[in-house]
């Protein structure tokens, strides 16, 4: 059992108390296991009442030599009874016949309502139906037919998967091996997979209005900031491009200036390639697979936090150096003495 936070438990208890019209204390006591459960009045149908049936293996009826005319006639009738297209019905009947090992005509006859269910107890081989037309009267019906009140149970027989589509699920004669008839197999689900609840209870709030409101305010604030900035600060536009006139210094955009700064210390083969591509990208992508520490508590992650902070401080320092402290010939300079050699910033800061 996962621990449920007190506040969540209380809220749920209050809701239950309100719904049942009983005091909260009673519900809480019950939840803590100190009182018998109040009223799931109607007893739920217990799941295990119907044990999986043992379908007796069907012996294929010896020789049903049904002419195709019979099949067609039955098919048409069955389709009419079931109210579904013949092609679909045929496919389903074939599947059923194959699954049960009985001739197609028998299945069709049943579907057309002319014969008792095929899945019924195996007919004694002696009581052979006359080949050809399946006659309801002579078809084996081992057990007395009672009007059933409950639809067929779940559970399919033994090894066979009951991929059965019956056109008339509402009138299953009783006494039929359960699990063979009158049900549709939707899917086979391992009970465990859908019952294992791993999620822990969380304290949640409605997205509308709580989150949407915060988002909306953030969005307005950002729009406002951007418009203000754009009114106050002019984006740079220097002289037209001229490949024959190299400005001094030439600088990359600010987010690459840290790199350019590194480049000026190291051999370009190292700084220009290894640092950004290997460390920068692949290295960053691998962080979750290298950091195996499962905790997210800052106190458990001292090393990781320290390393990232060093990375942040380092890149900030390099970028600021590159933006502000590099002048002519990419040599060190002081912005307050030599001016700023970074055109995006020209309109922002000035030391005059």
């Amino acid at each position: 059992m996962t621990e449920i936070p007190e506040s969540l438990l209380r809220r749920s208890a209050e809701a239950k108390a309100k719904a049942l019209g009983i005091p909260v204390e009673q519900v809480l006591a019950e939840m803590k296991g100190e009182a018998p459960p109040t009223p799931p009045a109607a007893s739920e149908p217990s799941e295990q009442t119907a044990p999986p049936a043992e379908p007796s293996p069907q012996e294929p009826s010896s020789d049903p030599a049904a002419s195709s005319g019979d099949v067609d006639a039955l098919l048409a009738k069955a389709a009419q009874v079931a109210g579904m297209p013949e092609a679909l019905l045929r496919r389903s009947a074939e599947a059923k016949a194959k699954a049960l090992g009985v001739p197609l005509v028998n299945v069709l006859a049943e579907m057309a309502g002319e014969a008792p269910p095929v899945g019924a107890e195996a007919p004694p081989p002696a009581a052979e139906p006359p080949a050809g037309a399946p006659q309801p009267a002579e078809a084996p019906a081992a057990v007395a037919v009672e009007e059933p009140t409950v639809p067929a149970p779940t559970g399919n027989g033994g090894g066979k998967v009951a991929a059965v589509v019956s056109p008339r699920p509402s009138v299953p004669p009783a006494g039929v091996p359960e699990g063979v008839r009158t049900q549709r197999l939707l899917t086979v689900v391992k009970a465990k997979a859908i019952q294992q609840v791993k999620a822990e209870p969380h304290d949640k709030v409605n997205t509308w209005p709580h989150l949407m409101l915060v988002e909306f305010v953030a969005l307005l604030a950002m729009t406002g900031l951007l418009i203000l900035m754009s009114v106050a600060l002019q984006a740079p536009l220097l002289e037209a491009a001229n490949p024959n006139l190299t400005p001094n210094p030439s600088k990359a955009p600010w987010y690459f200036l840290g790199l350019q700064e590194l480049l000026s210390y190291f051999d370009p083969q190292i700084a220009g390639v290894t640092v950004p591509t290997i460390i920068g990208l692949v290295g960053f992508m691998m962080i979750p697979y290298v950091d195996r520490n499962p905790s997210t508590k800052p106190s458990d992650r001292k090393l990781a936090i320290m390393l990232y902070t060093i990375f942040l401080a380092g890149s900030a320092t390099l970028t600021i150096l590159g933006v502000l402290f590099r002048g002519k010939g990419f040599n060190f300079s002081y912005p307050w003495k030599d001016g700023i050699f970074f055109d995006d910033l020209k309109d922002w800061v000035s030391f005059e």
Binding site: L211, V231, L237, P243, Y308
Partner: protein
């Protein structure tokens, strides 16, 4: 006295009429068809837990947001809204960028002149250009800070490892978008920043020259480079980044919503 009474009566009547008209509009077939059940714009919307769920569920926003979120996640102090703001800046950049495209041709003859003309001949041209440029810088910043926020929260730990990887791709794409845009004004700043930047790419071992050639469509920055970077900037990279963003947002939800609380 009688006068005063008449005045309030008139005011009341105006108010009543307006309320009626608004009600009729909100109940009209057209409005009914626009807003799905539960919308606060619909007639008779009442604030209830059920309707609060409907507002999200019956709305295109359901693609982005679940009906409920963890309580700590809506506190501004947790995410600082940085991911959301990165996305919002991207939208602003798309809108302002489309505006700029109306007045800009990516040729060596026209590019620079077009940008110049933007500030003088086009209403709000200068403002929109500034918004686009500062917005791009801000987006690089917010994406970077968002990454740092995620790191400090340890939000890349299972099951969110892969979303971190997607995030790194997004960071790279953001940088590329910004860098390809840098060339487009075709002034000295643009030309030489790009020359310096691509020189760094030229140091890639073994394939350095080829990489540089593919980037520049030549051995140096030329009109061919301008066209290539323009197409990358307005078409290819936005297309790719939108796909990665879709995966990113989808994974945020499938990985169980926002991480934490710490």
């Amino acid at each position: 006295m009688a006068n005063g009474n008449g005045k309030t009566g008139l005011l009341e009547r105006v108010r009543e009429r307006t309320a009626e008209a608004v009600d009729r509009l909100r109940g009209s077939q057209f409005m009914e068809s626009v807003f799905r059940p539960g919308s606060p714009f619909k007639k008779g919307y009442a604030d209830s837990p059920r309707n609060r769920s409907y507002v999200i569920m019956n709305n295109v926003l359901y693609h982005l947001h679940p009906v409920k979120v963890k309580r700590h996640g809506v506190k501004l102090s947790y995410t600082l809204c940085l991911g959301g703001l990165s996305f919002f800046l991207f939208i602003l950049l798309t809108i302002t960028g489309i505006f700029l495209m109306f007045y800009y041709a990516p040729t060596a003859e026209r590019a620079y002149v077009d940008i110049q003309a933007l500030s003088t001949n086009v209403a709000f041209g200068s403002l929109v250009r500034n918004m686009h440029r500062w917005g791009a810088h801000l987006m690089v910043l917010t994406v970077f800070l968002h990454m740092s926020r995620v790191f400090y929260h340890g939000a890349y730990k299972p099951p969110r490892e892969f979303n971190w990887v997607v995030g790194v791709v997004l960071l790279l794409l953001t940088l590329l978008l910004s860098f390809t845009g840098y060339l487009l004004p075709w002034d000295q700043l643009a030309l030489w920043a790009v020359t310096v930047g691509t020189n760094m790419a030229g140091f890639v071992p073994v394939f350095g020259d080829q990489v540089k050639f593919a980037l520049l469509a030549g051995v140096e920055v030329t009109a061919g480079t301008l066209l290539r970077w323009y197409v990358l900037h307005v078409l290819f990279l936005p297309f790719i980044i939108v796909i990665f963003m879709a995966v990113h947002f989808w994974r945020v939800r499938k990985d169980g919503g926002i991480s934490g609380p710490l």
